[in-house]
Symmetry: C2
Subunit: 205 residues, 2 copies
């Protein structure tokens, strides 16, 4: 059976401890959301796949009449994680609807674009608030898996900077667009230095 990065995301969590599917979905929402977001719906399906492939054991129990399934990683599961970590990695993927809007901004008004940019900056600020709260909790030793702090910090460094970059860009872009007469911004002499700085940042020079 072919496994996807999502499979390894769940196996990774299972390598830390056993979880019910509900806990797994919650934990993925809390900690993996910013690295590798996946819908809750899919995690329920994926956990079943892992069990079917023998990478996790599933145990059904009841709280009164309510059923729940606890998954525990098997040694085959641990081996699969090790093999994954030694395999070639996939490049990061960015999917930014706001960039699509910016790219086709000429078809709308500058006010539309500025509104989208401001909403994006606010999203990014909310993410950073959330991440700062995580960091505070960890510093105060009020977080699970304290012994994982080194790897958590490694990934958090990237994610925090990513959201700061979004906020900075959206703020810059909104100010830029505010100077345009129309969203087509035909006179791009003002953008010439931006182009030149992009060229100058060519890693080959």
């Amino acid at each position: 059976m072919q496994l996807s990065p999502t499979s390894y995301a769940l196996l990774g969590l299972l390598s830390l401890r056993s979880w019910t599917t509900y806990e797994l979905a919650q934990q993925a929402e809390r900690s993996l959301r910013y690295l590798y977001p996946r819908a809750e719906r899919h995690l329920y399906a994926e956990a079943k796949r892992l069990a079917a492939a023998g990478l996790a054991d599933s145990e059904v129990q009841y709280t009164g009449k309510r059923r729940s399934t606890t998954y525990t990683i098997t040694s085959e599961g641990r081996e699969a994680v090790r093999e994954w970590l030694a395999s070639p990695t996939a490049p990061p993927v960015l999917e930014a609807e706001v960039l699509l809007r910016s790219f086709f901004a000429e078809q709308g008004s500058t006010a539309d674009l500025i509104a989208a940019l401001e909403a994006t900056a606010e999203h990014a600020r909310a993410a950073r608030r959330d991440l700062a709260a995580f960091a505070r909790a960890r510093l105060e030793a009020d977080a699970p898996f304290l012994e994982r702090t080194s790897v958590v910090v490694l990934t958090m460094r990237f994610v925090v900077d990513f959201h700061r970059q979004i906020e900075d860009w959206a703020t810059w872009a909104a100010a830029e667009v505010a100077t345009w007469e129309h969203a087509d911004g035909r006179d791009w002499t003002a953008q010439r230095d931006v182009i030149e700085s992009i060229i100058a940042s060519d890693p080959d020079r």
Copy 2:
């Protein structure tokens, strides 16, 4: 019919000129890849959907025996793009397998992680080379849609910085991990200042 951002990506391209599906797929690969990547396969299906919804007209022609379909936006299509640009935007989505690996690095070796980080830095450098070449062509007026330079520069600014950030992070992280005895990096006193800088960057303070 409910449209997805992909629909608007194609409608956006169609708002610039008419294209065959093949050209559309090529253009999406060239210009939209970095903002909103979509598989070629899907664009063929999506173009048909646009035509079925009356947002584009399709015209079949033949080069000898070989069939091709040219799509042209309708006034309903232009209206749909305008409405989309005035609607609320979705936050950017990041999907980084290398962050997943970093997050679960304790399950593998430090060498595994360093290899993944170096491959990631190289991917990011390749992207920046590509983008710098784009910028050079545009400065030398050797690019289609020169009149779109303002909006192109707006999005390029973000994308270039995004890839630079990936490269910087991967380089920093690889150096960091190289000092760890094992991938579990239990002694995180050295990470304390990173956590503090994340807390200090809280937008509320």
